[in-house]
């Protein structure tokens, strides 16, 4: 069997018995019942994911996937396509937003070339960039499919391979993206998979004005009309209106779920990857943690479709994995709620009147 099939078969949901054990302890912690709210909900999830009452989360990595998009030719981004390889260089030199926020939480940043439209072999040779290049950017989705079905499978498997390579040393994964114009395929994915009108899910990306936003809506509509992706087939949606880095992110999520590791998803593009992974295997939802709600208006609809409530709402819209890195602190805190706080009886504190 293929890596993708094996991985899909290896995924099963959270373990209820570990959730129950965690619930039992959390119910007894020396505080008013469930007074740490969503940290306690998350602690339950971590126990169910990792099959442990001491969920390991200290060894952390953000996997930032980069790729280019043929649809950039339609003028859907304010930035030129050359920014994608330049930003990959910035990631490996440590000067980007993701480097700053990953450092704050003690996460490493793993940068992957999934399909940048430039020769990055020198960065690969430096050992700081992982080469999983599927192609030099996707095709223009406003004119036809982004990639072949074989390339879509290759993108997913590349993400799985990256997770498998690091899984013995990493407890907690986060996803990130870089790719000029990549809110456009992400918007097409959310519209296709949630059956929502394009105008309702299209946002301003890196800062489009009203006319540019109208153009973007037109381009996304055209991409969906020309390609007619099958919303029941995640591979078809990825191949027709997706992106190489979006496939890589979906692969990371599948790989993490198969290894029973929590995976924090970042903004619009990472969540588009999560939608693809969810369509392929709904049980991945049990391993997803939505880090934040971005300014992008499609993000809320994505979270609703996945049934996730994000941890943070700080008007972020950078991508790169920045929101995921920031939320890793909250995941770590949730694990400590389970491991570091005494019960009423351990602390010899009187409990509430019943």
């Amino acid at each position: 069997m293929s890596l993708l099939t094996n991985t899909l078969n290896a995924i099963s949901g959270q373990d209820q018995s570990w959730r129950d054990q965690a619930q039992n302890r959390l119910d007894q912690l020396v505080m008013p019942h469930w007074a740490l709210g969503r940290l306690m909900d998350l602690a339950l999830d971590l126990a169910g994911m990792t099959r442990s009452l001491t969920p390991p989360v200290t060894r952390k990595a953000i996997i930032t996937m980069a790729g280019d998009h043929g649809v950039a030719a339609e003028g859907v981004s304010k930035f030129p396509q050359e920014v994608t390889p330049q930003m990959v260089g910035n990631f490996i030199n440590g000067g980007a937003g993701i480097n700053a926020l990953a450092k704050q939480v003690g996460a490493r940043v793993i940068v992957v070339d999934m399909g940048v439209a430039a020769d990055l072999s020198a960065m690969v040779a430096s050992g700081k960039l992982i080469d999983k290049k599927i192609g030099f950017g996707t095709n223009n989705i406003a004119q036809g499919p982004a990639m072949t079905r074989e390339q879509a499978i290759a993108a997913l498997e590349a993400g799985i391979e990256v997770v498998n390579h690091y899984a013995d040393d990493i407890d907690l994964f986060g996803t990130g993206d870089m790719g000029i114009a990549n809110t456009t395929p992400s918007t097409a994915i959310v519209a296709a998979l949630t059956n929502t009108p394009v105008a309702e899910v299209t946002g301003r990306g890196t800062g489009l004005d009203d006319d540019q936003l109208k153009l973007k809506i037109t381009v996304v509509k055209k991409a969906l009309e020309i390609n007619n992706p099958d919303p029941t087939d995640g591979l078809d949606v990825l191949a027709k209106v997706g992106g190489f880095e979006i496939g890589g992110i979906a692969g990371v999520i599948l790989g993490a779920a198969a290894r029973r590791k929590p995976v924090l998803i970042d903004g619009l593009i990472s969540t588009a990857g999560a939608l693809i992974a969810y369509t392929l295997k709904p049980e991945i939802k049990d391993y997803l943690i939505a880090s934040h709600r971005s300014v992008e208006q499609g993000h809320r609809i994505m979270h609703q479709h996945l049934g996730c409530e994000p941890l943070l709402n700080l008007n972020l819209r950078l991508g790169e994995g920045t929101g995921a890195a920031l939320a890793m602190n909250i995941v770590e805190a949730a694990s400590r709620v389970l491991t570091d706080i005494a019960t009423f009886s351990e602390a010899q504190v009187a409990s509430a009147d019943k």
Copy 2:
């Protein structure tokens, strides 16, 4: 002059020129403009508070103030008053929620007896508890003033003294509280200072049922009627319907503002302390960071009055400083946005089309 007067006189707002310098750098960072949203807003504040483009925030402390309340006799809490000293013991033994969350972010926990109704001299002798005891619990505010005006001043000055003692070694302060029944005086404070009907600001505290909630509303109304605090006089409000630990928290905020250090406020009780401090000196607002919005319904009204938008909204309602500890990660991240991210020109990345 007294310590309180000196401290009030030493407080001035953020420095606009440092905010402008920070804005200038943030505008050039290698990302779509202001793409890290509220982290960048916070970075501006940190620069304005600390007069620095590298705002120091790494040395962190939560100051958890404990005190008892005569109004507990009215049956406004589900927990018996003996829990206050027991929880102080738990704090210094490291088994409480605040210990777990402070450890996650690398903050120390400074525990202060502001007025617990028990002899804690053994804990003080151990060196783990700071003794600033004003009395063995306040008087019952449903029957008369909580404390004298002199005691209110002493409580504020105790908080200032604690900050002054640690200020050379701590960059970032957070406030926390412990005190059975202390949501009742906090509710009276917010009702008095924001002129809001008591029923609108009264919450369920540690988990009151409907009848208990009605009783609490009645008690708060009675406390306000009997004491008739002057909403233009923070000292009068603190003395008549406040608490020793609430005064201590207000003092911490005044002290931090005078030292130009950011101070994260936690939940309902800490924010009541912030309201007192704000009434005494509105410029303290420039040094306040609201960490989270608690489940308590009065909290939103408090934040509105202060003009603060909290960073987190995770259904927390524990107090102790837990929300402040969790949000310290975000403050640290905001500082790193200013210090660790390259500009477009530094990173040699092409900027957006204008």
